[in-house]
């Protein structure tokens, strides 16, 4: 009995001790999916994938408990530097900029950038240089995207940036793009899932996956490197990669090359110090791209607003003058458009309807934003139309004006003035909401800024620049609206 009590006491005492074992927070994006990181189908509160297992190996090797932190893939670098977690992993590519800004592990996996094309184009598009003037898709802010940008300068290829790695392939099959350049792991996974395309055998480039640490955390990085080397040597890494179906003999050769390198070399030699003037050079490099993206934002917003105003006027007129059935239908339209996220509407228009009508991304963006904002505009116009005193409308009728003339000559002009201020607000809101269209591959101002920020490793300068451009658009607009309101103040 006494022995049993002592045992229970010991167990109870050991619980907090176990809970206090230091934790290694590691950040990744479960949206990236298998084989990197995905929510476990058996228990979606857990994650699985080869990056999950490697993170666990590192944690255990450091005597810690791994704890997963979900983070958007594009934000992993920023978050690790902020201290949201100690190590970031999720198919992160080894790039010189990454090494310049953070402490980066030894590479633990070698992948190929491969070109996927439709079967009919197998003979035509073998390599990037065959795709002059053609649309080639990839994930934004990746090595592949940089390769496409470089190729664009050489051959005029058109890079199309996506926020996820599923839609590039579905759009390839649908004919929206002519090729996709991405990691072989992603390409092979998409081929298994959806099919309908072929992967060209000749890789466009070779890259490596690494783990990233905060710059100040180089010591932990060095310890993690030792763990990774040990796991390469004892075959644990190989078993993990085999389990996830991404092992090849070439990986064995790659492991041997990594192990042959002297461990002490990497901290001093591989991590380049930040090059002074990098952001200045980057600014010059990105300014034309930012200007182009700002132009796209402006044109897109103007076209979408024009569409919203036109449809909004028709909807408002229908709701004020129309048959009860028409009024009911238009009310449903307004409530559905206002009651669901514009992001969802963009997805439905671009991807959901692609089986019926295959709209170009820009047209889908104009249509999506236009239809959404039309609902808001129609409510403004309806309220403005109904604010015109009934006696004025009756005066128009007693004077022999038709309903159409009363709308055009009496009600409309006065309603327009009432609607002007809320319309301006909506246009400014639309300018900012236009940043959502990057989800359907339109690279507008915010998306271009995000790409710029990822490449220079800071949001400070790109963020300020981006904000200034938005302000340069919206401030004159407000001034213009105020001037117009003054002019139309009728005495």
């Amino acid at each position: 009995m006494t022995h049993r009590l002592v045992l229970i006491l010991l167990l109870v005492l050991s619980l907090p001790a176990h809970a206090q074992r230091p934790v290694l927070r590691w950040g990744g994006d479960a949206e990236g999916g298998a084989p990197f990181v995905e929510a476990d189908p058996a228990d979606p509160s857990k994650v699985r994938g080869f990056d999950v297992e490697i993170a666990e190996m590192i944690a255990r090797g450091l005597g810690r408990e791994p704890r997963f932190v979900q983070v958007a893939w594009a934000s992993i670098e920023q978050s690790v530097e902020r201290g949201d977690f100690e190590v970031g992993m999720s198919g992160l590519e080894d790039r010189p900029e990454l090494r310049a800004r953070h402490a980066v592990s030894i590479p633990y996996y070698e992948f190929q950038e491969v070109l996927a094309v439709r079967p009919a184009d197998r003979g035509r598009y073998r390599r990037l240089s065959d795709l002059a003037g053609r649309r080639v898709a990839t994930l934004g802010a990746t090595m592949a995207y940089q390769m496409l940008l470089d190729e664009q300068k050489r051959s005029g290829l058109v890079p199309i940036s996506y926020d996820d790695d599923v839609h590039p392939y579905s759009d390839l099959v649908a004919g929206r793009v002519d090729a996709v350049l991405l990691d072989n792991i992603i390409a092979e996974r998409s081929l298994r899932r959806t099919g309908g395309f072929v992967i060209q055998p000749e890789p466009a480039a070779t890259g490596h996956y690494v783990a990233v640490f905060a710059r100040a955390n180089a010591a932990m990085r060095d310890s993690a490197n030792a763990v990774l080397r040990a796991r390469m040597q004892d075959g644990s890494l190989e078993r993990t990669f085999r389990r996830w179906g991404v092992w090849s003999d070439a990986q064995g050769g790659f492991f041997r090359r990594v192990l042959a390198e002297a461990p002490q070399a990497e901290s001093g030699q591989k991590d380049a110090a930040p090059v002074p003037g990098t952001s200045g050079r980057a600014l010059r490099t990105y300014l034309p791209a930012l200007a182009r993206a700002a132009g796209i934002t402006l044109v897109l917003s103007c076209l979408a607003m024009a569409l919203a105003v036109s449809i909004g006027i028709l909807v408002a007129a229908g709701r004020v003058y129309g048959h009860p059935v028409l009024r009911a239908l238009l009310t449903v339209y307004v409530e559905v458009m206002r009651g669901t996220p514009v992001l969802l509407q963009l997805f439905v228009i671009y991807y959901g309807l692609s089986g019926v009508v295959r709209l170009p991304a820009f047209a889908a963006a104009v249509l999506g934003l236009g239809l959404n904002y039309a609902a808001y505009e129609s409510e403004i116009y309806r309220a403005a139309l109904e604010a015109i005193p009934r006696a004025q409308l009756e005066a128009g009728r007693t004077l022999g004006l038709s309903e159409g003339q009363i709308l055009r000559l009496v009600r409309g002009p006065q309603a327009l003035r009432l609607a002007l201020a809320p319309m301006t607000n909506d246009f400014v809101a639309l300018l900012k909401d236009s940043s959502l269209v990057s989800v359907i591959t339109v690279v507008e101002l915010t998306k271009q800024t995000a790409i710029y920020a990822t490449n220079v490793g800071s949001w400070l300068v790109p963020g300020i620049l981006c904000a200034l451009i938005y302000l340069a658009f919206s401030l004159p607009l407000s001034r213009f609206a105020r001037a117009l309101e003054r002019r139309w103040s009728w005495g």
């Binding site: 009756e394 005066a395 007693t398 004077l399 022999g400 000559l409 009496v410 006065q414 005495g491």
Partner: protein
Amino acid sequence: MSGALRVDGLRVSRAEREILRGVDLQVPAGEICALMGASGAGKSTVLRSVAALQPFSGGSIDVGGFALNPGPVPKESRLKGLRRKVGMVFQAAALFEHLTALENVTLAPVHALGWTKAKAREGAMALLEELGVAHRADAYPRELSGGEAQRVAIARALAPDPLLLLMDEPTSALDPARRGALGETLRELADQGRGLLVSTHDVDFARAFADRVAILHEGTLVEHGPAADVLDRPGHAATRELLRGPTST
């Protein structure tokens, strides 16, 4: 004198309630008829029915030979003949706020009657001159005083040169001096051969300027005759009540 307006047995119901219960009324050309009665007696309903702004359920209306029948208000395209014959001045003037006084007056002649802008402008300036507000031609409604706005509204209603002018409570926002001036103006308009049907609470105004007075009480015309007869020798309790009340609202 020929009749500008003839109303026979006018009935108006709204949601089971009878607003007008068979009103008979004539307004000869050249006369001012004051339509009087307490609030809710149905004065505005008579005016709105004559102007074809609302349907009526029984009786008939004839404006200078244009007949209106019970039932829904006809389409505007079928009311063009009526619109040339009836002008209406609303209680609060109801000027088009985004147009100047002159534009308010020229709008209908240009767009409903197809006059040239020059002809409409010439006619409008003559009317504004006649009504003493030509100097305010370029002012917007919110820059006008109540009296000026009302005169512009009269000019606007007169632009198509109607046979019958309907006025809803024209004195309600005017001081005594302006009431007198308005009465004289209305007298001149009647003398030009128009019939005027003016709804009012204002006994003094009716006594001074109306040729005839019609008393409405709970949807029924209880007295109708020369102004002096009705106002000086009231025969109905409602008229006596009206005469005892305040002379203006």
